[in-house]
Symmetry: none
Subunit: 178 residues, 4 copies
DNA sequence: GATGAATGAGTATTCATTCAT
DNA sequence: AATGAATGAATACTCATTCAT
């Protein structure tokens, strides 16, 4: 198997679980059965590896925001995004954890600044495209609120409340936007 | 002036700005004009200092959730909490940054586990007390949603979008709950 | 109870168990319920405390070597010393541990140099007084051998062999010198 | 030249002279012209280095106890061990100092526990093999006594008496066992 | 592509000691 | 006699990175 790919996979997992700062490359190398030098060879540095991982995870964000514009009403599109979001949140907790992590940590934010901006403006644009058709006047604020709401749900689900009623929240949210 | 207090103040500031993991104690001591040994003397360890700071910041959370039950209707109370939240969010950005940080970082979460649970259950309880009077059947889910929404707003305001329309979001939220 | 005395007692115990270098004064103070400043007040420094303890333990050595010259033959005196030694070795293991420790550790030896020389020349003199009456020509070597033998037994009993047959060793030694 | 080997050599010397606890790794690295990180790389930790050294010094113990079973009587074998022991004691004082040190210091004993037990049981077995042929009934006690005697001599020679008459002690011991 | 020895700056922590009260 | 805040040097250890092979 490709050692480069293996490295990314293991690193993603460990960075998500332990946090970027608290995951030494030695741990990554050990788990990936790979020598230390290989990281610098492929990714130049730890930050380089992080950027590579962040880039890869952007695909998941794209998928969540993919909608069928031709056959769906705006509200159906919104529901589609919500369904995709909750589905991902449950099945790929680590991905969300990783993202929360690197977005908040001041250090990693610096490293990922350009990629993060790219990604968040993509999300905003995609969301706004939907809301534009619902209420063009307030579409920006509503988009921001929509995004914030989902982020907040992810945050509380992942980090804060042990018995977060995700299912009921999902139903309520969908009802609200339907 | 009390060096212990000074230490807490400076550390709070630095931990918020740079993140806990990325703030060496040496930086704290230097800024606080204090010897390294003093941290060990007062707080036992860096984690001990973190816990002390987290404990202190809980007071801000308490203040946000303080409502006048006797003279306010539930909806007025909700508005009160919202006003307090947005006011704090603007005036004390660092506090929110600090909290987001330590709540998401796996390492700090372990250290603060008990304190975080205490705090979050306090917030949930306080919020639910209000929603109980509005819609007792769905009060738990609505409380969670309310909290998540605010957290999401803080997260997006602090971390993700540079031109987050906080003022408009605030107005919209207040209108929604009024 | 006298805090000074309490301090010596606790310190002796801890130094014996953990070794001098590995016993922080903080541990001594905590166990003795005494403030840190008090040690420097009474003993000037950690080394000062060590010297005080070493001085105190010399009394045990004196007791082991106390013989009744008037009513005992030299061989009886030797047996007396042996009996006292083995009795002490069993009842006061910590004392021997402490002594072995500080005698071998290069650092503590420097600190206790004068006291150790005093003590060892005392032991040699006392032992030689007995051997002088048995075989005056070889008394010095025999004394050294006698002392070395006992030290070796203590060392092996305390440190090296878990199932050291102390009782049988004792019988054999006594038979040899009787 | 192999830096790993160099590290062991220098460390052995310094640990012997100053004691394990009193020898900072910085001193070892400086003398060995090696970076601090290299110890961690090769031995994981200071304790790891200690264990490696202890393992290496076991070879000397093996050599002392090597006897020619086929061409020597038991008494000749005993004399052989004694000769080897005294020869080593004079030529390699540091080795004995190191061993005494780590065997008595409570901290190092814990670290070396398994290795020490292995070694001491080896010595006892080898010694008992000889005494079995001399007096099978008391061979265990006699072996213990023999070992203790030698340890005591080393202890007194190295640590306690400045003018220890090693040569005469040696002659007397050999005469005794011959 | 891949290894692993080697580096060195960085970091939390320990701890004896001092000193004002 | 006794306290405890404060110091600062010392120390083991971590870890990303480099580089020769």
């Amino acid at each position: 198997m490709d050692k480069r790919e293996q490295l990314i996979e293991i690193a993603t997992k460990l960075f998500s679980e332990r946090g970027y700062e608290n995951t030494p490359l030695s741990a990554v190398c050990e788990k990936a059965n790979v020598s230390k030098g290989l990281i610098s060879h492929h990714f130049k540095s730890k930050d380089g590896l992080l950027r590579e991982i962040f880039r890869k995870t952007t695909q998941l964000v794209v998928e969540i925001n993919r909608v069928d514009k031709e056959n769906q009403t705006p509200k159906e599109q919104l529901i589609g995004v919500l369904e995709a979001f909750f589905s991902q949140l449950e099945s790929d907790k680590l991905f969300f954890q990783f993202n929360m992590n690197v977005m908040i940590q001041p250090n990693t934010r610096k490293v990922l600044d350009d990629l993060m901006k790219e990604r968040s403006s993509f999300i905003l644009r995609k969301t706004k495209e939907i809301f534009d058709k619902i209420d063009i006047e307030n579409s920006l604020v509503m988009s921001h609120l929509f995004i914030a709401e989902l982020d907040g749900i992810a945050l509380n689900y992942l980090g804060i409340f042990e018995d977060f009623p995700l299912q009921q929240i999902k139903e309520r949210i969908i009802k609200k936007y339907a």
